[in-house]
Symmetry: C2
Subunit: 523 residues, 2 copies
């Protein structure tokens, strides 16, 4: 809960040579070290950790007054974490964490060299107890449920950090700082804060600005005194992962108005520039992530990620991960498939399969239309891979919701979608989406492609920046504090927009001039 | 290690009524509380303790948004320590500690009412292991010695706090803050910091500015999150007890130049005003505290504290503690006895017993002169209480050392002792000394009596102020930082001054014009 805006920050590792004490200068050891550090770094009010103070006299003398200091110069205060002989070259690491509902990514950083060392991704172990945000919050209503979920993620992070450090020829003892970005619920579960009211009117988190903690407070198996920075949340539905994404994008520093969207089951959008920011979030449904169709699955070998349909022969061409025989299709693949089907005339503007155009790929079962995407002979499963009309309907609703959310947010400040100078696509899933395909189905607005910027795992990148460039930390709080959250009212106007967006690409084709011109390209 | 000079501080206890959350205002619980506190107190950057955050949602709702907050608004940062329903009237206490080498005093304070509740004094349990500062430091050279001494004092404080709280109908759980003042060595032992180099050239403490700690870090059995403020030291021989004394005296705020002296085995002196302060310390010997004579003892029932000798009859008149039969004499009693003996002509200006003037009270044993102070028939011990010539010689050396230290410090800034506007006598022992007697033997300079101000236990008073008036805390650090420590060079000039001061009251009687005029007063 800080508003400090100190522009500079000292490095994490500082090499020092101290003047040894004498009768002429009998400053205490702790003060001598702090004064030298203050002279070198410009920090005022440096605090020495207590345990460190106890062993400081021996360290200083054994190192003959040439030392290497590990310090945390944070807006919340400057702390000296460790002092060791200058010759001691043990690494000084930090870890950035992207704490996703489904997937967690750790990135090990060298805080001395300011470089990334390694990365490790794994499933959030809470998924085994409760698959999604809602189920996890309900799980905390049970006695011991919150402790259980917190313990699961903390232990898993500890285990995985051990692995990651071993690969880098070190140990978690080398880790002196952590920065973590996650959505509001994941942050609450990680901190052991009861999340129950996040989903209940009037939707109140326990904390939007978690305090800077120490690793020992969270049972993290890194250095006990390591500061742990948790990205703050704007609110229940706009979490620290987005704040980290904004930080990484630089949207908050630019003169031109930009939009950042994290595409997923929940669409989170922020619009603004260095002067103002407005955010909203809304349910887009799981269809965009491939979560509803029978053949939808997360990215893995054999999963279809790219699709092309020849406009004349209507032959399907696929790119699967690792070029393995197809076994399913990922979310971005579904979007691309729908876009290609539409361009090939196999879907009408309502997103309905056209039996004549689909030819032998069109099938019905129990009165439901299906499209055979891959035949049993070519698939890895030995069964046809099919997409049903309800799957497509669900995708249409999701893409319409996405577009409507974008349109509503932009309209709320009197702008149009074409006024957006840069369109950042955040998040790991977003980075897989081909903007051309997303435009074709009318999920994203029809902007020149060069205006789209794919950020990748922007949550992890933002968390990394908080460690590698601590001078940016005040910006994290500034972004949070300056962001106005727009509560999406699902009123008649919203519903009208939504209805208009439930077409491919839209009831108003003039909004998507490029779609007609999309050309077939061989993969 | 703080230089913050924030002028105000919020109270420890703040009553609040919060606006309950609604769809129109769905600020998180933690942020809602902090914002309300910030509005009420003006604090920026309030930090909520982590465990408190975990139970905050329930507390806020169970108390129907009317709460009582316990907070620590300190220059090192503002922390929220507890939140409870407004109706919960459990007391909120703090404890001030005067950590003496021999004696420890605890004072319980009500942090809500800002009043003192009770006090408890006890012997420092480290005395049993090693009686004085030197012996204790040597004890830490042994394996486990430091831990042993730290454990002794911490456990004893915990036990005594339990007693003190019981008397006040509460428990140590009601204690939310501690402030402690002690000399540099006692502070080191309390913190478990190795003090070995304090007494070895070039006399280096581990820390002169200990960090603000939490009670749990020191195993103090009060609230785990309670801030523990340790008064900083100027150096090895000018400790936090003196800083606390200066704070209490107000010397550092006054236009006029004042002097503060803590009379004891070690004489610690500070001279200055709001613009400058200079300090020194030197050995005066244990004689001033009654520590060398056979009949010297600390204040207790039957101990002689006041003495009068009729100038004509040379009859002795005593005031003993609790009016019990005399069993010994305390340090201030010895000073008074010497002053009276001198005025009655029984001591010459060299401090030697005059056989003729002492009459039957004069005795020799093994060639050493003695003065019988109390006869066996009148004493509580059934034996004569006698003072030897060596006891008196020792007293003369001590008082001469004391005076020389004062003179040297004052001369170092080009002043004379008569330029001192106010002469503060600090410390419990100092408060027992009758300035008239001290002037008579030439221990204190011959200033008008109204210039002397006896401060009592100024260390405890300063520690109490740090809790009751937190806005004074920056002054603690300012006093420390602004004080120049003068290393006393025992050179020829010092020795000349010392030799001249080894007379009663001085070789230069013009410095003590009042002494000749001292009149006998019946007790």
């Amino acid at each position: 809960m800080e508003t400090d805006t100190k522009p500079h920050a000292a490095p994490w590792v500082v090499q020092l040579e101290l003047e040894p004490p004498s009768l002429k200068d009998n400053t205490a050891d702790g003060d001598r070290l702090c004064q030298a550090l203050e002279r070198t770094t410009g920090i005022r009010g440096m605090r020495i950790d207590y345990q460190l103070l106890q062993r400081l006299p021996d360290t200083l003398r054994q190192s003959q007054w040439r030392v290497r200091c590990i310090l945390a110069d944070q807006p919340e205060g400057s702390r000296l974490l460790d002092v060791r002989p200058a010759a001691d070259r043990r690494p000084v690491w930090g870890v950035a964490v992207d704490l996703g509902t489904t997937r967690v990514v750790l990135r090990l950083l060298d805080l001395d060299q300011l470089t990334a060392i390694g990365e490790l991704a794994f499933d959030n172990p809470q998924t085994a107890v409760a698959p999604d945000v809602l189920a996890r919050i309900h799980h905390t209503d049970r006695s011991g449920g919150l402790d259980q979920l917190q313990g699961l993620i903390v232990r898993e992070i500890n285990t995985r950090l051990g692995e990651l450090c071993r690969i880098a020829d070190g140990s978690p003892d080398n880790i002196w700082a952590m920065a973590l970005a996650g959505n509001t619920t994941m942050t609450h579960l990680f901190l052991g804060l009861p999340p129950g009211r996040i989903i209940r009117e009037p939707y109140i988190p326990v904390a939007n600005r978690p305090p800077l903690l120490q690793a020992s407070q969270l049972n993290l198996a890194i250095q006990a005194v390591a500061p742990v920075r948790i990205f703050p949340n704007v609110g229940s539905y706009f979490g620290g992962d987005l704040i980290a994404g904004i930080l990484y994008s630089g949207l908050h520093t630019r003169e031109e108005t930009a939009l950042l969207v994290d595409v997923g089951t929940n669409a989170e959008v922020i619009l603004g520039n260095r002067n103002w920011m407005i955010a909203c979030a809304g349910a887009a449904g799981p269809a965009l992530e491939g979560g509803v169709s029978k053949i939808g699955m997360p990215a893995a070998p054999g999963v279809i990620e790219r699709v092309r349909i020849h406009p004349d022969t209507r032959a399907f061409e696929f790119k699967t991960i690792d070029d393995q025989p197809p076994r399913g299709i990922c979310g971005s693949g579904v979007i691309e498939l729908a876009a290609e089907l539409f361009k090939a005339g196999m879907l009408d503007i309502r997103g309905k399969l056209m039996p004549a155009e689909c030819g032998p790929r069109f099938q019905t079962a129990n009165g439901i239309s299906h499209l055979r995407v891959v035949t049993a002979e070519r698939s890895a499963t030995g069964r046809d891979l099919t997409l049903s009309q309800p799957d497509l309907d669900s995708l249409i609703r999701s893409k319409a919701a996405m577009y409507t959310i974008l349109e509503t947010l932009v309209a709320s400040v009197g702008l149009g979608l074409t006024d957006i100078d840069t369109f950042y696509v955040a998040g790991t899933f977003g980075s897989l989406i081909d903007p051309t395909a997303a435009i074709t189905i009318g999920m994203l607005p029809d902007l020149p492609l060069e205006r789209f910027q794919v950020l990748g795992n922007s949550s992890l990148e933002g968390a990394s920046q908080a460690l590698l460039q601590p001078r940016l930390i005040p910006a994290i709080h500034a972004i949070r504090d300056q962001t106005t959250y727009l509560e999406l009212n699902v009123n008649q106007e919203f519903m009208n927009r939504f209805s208009a967006a439930k077409f491919l690409p839209h009831t108003d084709p003039d909004r998507f001039p490029s779609v007609r011109g999309n050309k077939y390209k061989v993969l």
